[in-house]
């Protein structure tokens, strides 16, 4: 009986680690070298997709503090000034989870459109923060391609998030 309780708790713990785990996995995939030519110049901010997804569907599993810590992790991994992604992740989590009722039970395209809106605001903020901290502007064209590629990656990554939610978290 006690063993069963422990197993159930372990299973629950594992499930609760799935959403942040998916964000971390996306972070790592985004920085893998040589996925395709010129990938590294405009590599999409893949981690924003699961962050956005879970902020709508399971904000209880990635709260503001988790988003902040994941952002710090992203900062350290990618070598951009510390705090930039942390700020971005917190803002995205707070805004999207605040507006989640609008997206719930809506078609996929609405979620995609919402994500495009979020990155259209968030990534220029990141661009300006980085420019301020570096004291110089990085090429604007890279930012535009980075945004377009990030938006384009929403369907496959969003699909993985949806499948994960259905497989692991639906019965909660």
């Amino acid at each position: 009986m006690e063993n069963e309780g422990l197993a159930a708790r372990l299973e629950q713990l594992t499930r609760h680690w799935v959403p942040p785990g998916l964000v971390i996995l996306c972070m790592l995939i985004a920085v893998l070298p040589g996925i395709m030519p010129y990938w590294s110049d405009v590599a999409p901010a893949l981690a924003l997709i699961p962050l956005y997804y879970w902020s709508i569907y399971r904000p209880d599993l990635i709260g503001m503090t988790s988003a902040f810590l994941l952002g710090v992790l992203q900062d350290m991994l990618t070598g951009v000034p510390l705090g930039v992604n942390a700020l971005l992740f917190v803002l995205i989590q707070a805004v999207v989870s605040g507006q989640r009722r609008f997206f719930l039970a809506k078609p996929f395209f609405v979620a995609w459109w919402g994500f495009a809106m979020v990155i259209a605001v968030a990534l220029p903020i990141k661009y300006l923060l980085v420019a301020m901290l570096y004291g110089d502007f990085t090429p604007l064209s890279n930012l535009v391609f980075h945004m377009l590629l990030t938006a384009a990656m929403f369907p496959p990554v969003g699909w993985v998030c949806a499948r994960t939610q259905m497989a692991l978290l639906q019965d909660e």
């Binding site: 920085v31 070298p33 952002g71 350290m76 000034p81 510390l82 980085v130």
Partner: protein, 331 residues
């Protein structure tokens, strides 16, 4: 009554949420300030993290590398015959150059002996696989799965068979971050190989960094080869860096294409010449009020490396000046 208490709970929860959001935003800004003020601390924390994820990245990068290798092989198969002809021609040319190099090498040794010039610094190197290409649109850096454990030192040059690609900016125990010469924070003292015109190679996160601080009367043309100048004692002189691609006469912008295509790099060689140069963190800070350097300080540091005190007191000391000083006094 119950509705009132639940309404109050919602208000308290919303207030708490707002307070938490404001606090986290403040902490994020505080982190940005700390990153600027205490780069050493941030670097230490950051390398601990990269040490932890490097093994994971190594495992993850294998399938990605296999996929890209497969695609490359298909592409190469398509133009095998054409490439074979090109390689034959190149081989003939290289054989000629090998002969020239051998002659020059022998002559160089003789002349060095005649002049009593000390031999150039000995190098030691570590070969590493690139496991992360980080930063995307915002930074140009690589992560490699070797670190202090394998003898990697901060400031070492990072090369491929084609030329210089960057330098080691952060070293962890089993991982290191390489700042590429195209990164917006990279500053590298270089010179034109044929004319010895000096310049500072300034990265701007594009594929073609800019040559700055070129002398007024210097002439640089597209096609000129750029090599390291050895100033700042960070790298030895003569490492191939790139070739000048464009010279804008109107605004004086000179751009250079690095010899190394970062999109094709799988392995890098981290070379240590034992030169501490500007990255020697143990060197005491320069005396305030000391005479300024004879030339404008050619090197500024990346954020990761900014922590080291900029030893501007002896930046102009190049190998040539050092070698002259090393000669015995005349009898």
């Amino acid at each position: 009554m119950q509705g009132g208490s639940s309404g109050r709970a919602v208000t308290v929860s919303a207030l708490f949420r707002r307070f938490k959001l404001a606090a986290l935003i403040l902490v994020a800004f505080a982190l940005m300030l700390i990153g600027k003020a205490d780069a050493v601390l941030v670097e230490r924390v950051s390398t601990t993290l990269t040490d932890a994820v490097a093994p994971m990245m190594r495992v993850l990068s294998r399938p990605a590398s296999a996929i890209s290798q497969g695609l490359e092989e298909v592409r190469e198969l398509a133009r095998l015959r054409e490439e074979n002809t090109l390689l034959r021609a190149e081989n003939a040319r290289l054989k000629h150059w090998q002969m020239v190099a051998r002659n020059l090498d022998a002559e160089n040794v003789q002349l060095r002996n005649l002049l009593n010039l000390p031999a150039p610094p000995q190098q030691s190197f570590v070969t590493a696989r690139v496991v992360g290409d980080t930063g995307g649109a915002f930074a140009h850096s690589f992560l490699v799965a070797v670190g202090r454990q394998q003898g990697v030192r901060k400031g070492s040059a990072v090369m491929t068979a084609d030329g210089l690609i960057g330098r080691v900016a952060q070293v962890g125990f089993r991982s290191a971050r390489i700042l590429l010469i195209t990164d917006i924070n990279s500053r590298l003292p270089v010179q034109v190989e044929s004319t010895r015109v000096r310049a500072l190679l300034v990265g701007d996160n594009t594929e073609e960094p800019v040559l700055s601080f070129i002398g007024n009367n210097a002439v640089i043309r597209p096609g000129d080869r750029i090599v390291t100048s050895g100033h700042g004692r960070a790298f030895p002189p003569g490492l191939p860096v790139g070739v000048v691609t464009s010279v804008d006469a109107e605004n004086g912008t000179v751009r250079m294409q690095p010899f190394v295509d970062r999109n094709r790099v799988e392995y890098v060689r981290i070379v240590d010449w034992g030169l501490d140069g500007i990255l020697d963190v143990n060197r005491p800070a320069p005396f305030i009020g000391a005479n300024p350097p004879a030339v404008p300080a050619p090197v500024s540091e990346a954020p990761a490396a900014r922590a080291s005190p900029p030893a501007v007191d002896d930046i102009p000391v190049g190998p040539a000046a050092e070698d002259i000083a090393a000669q015995p006094a005349e009898p």
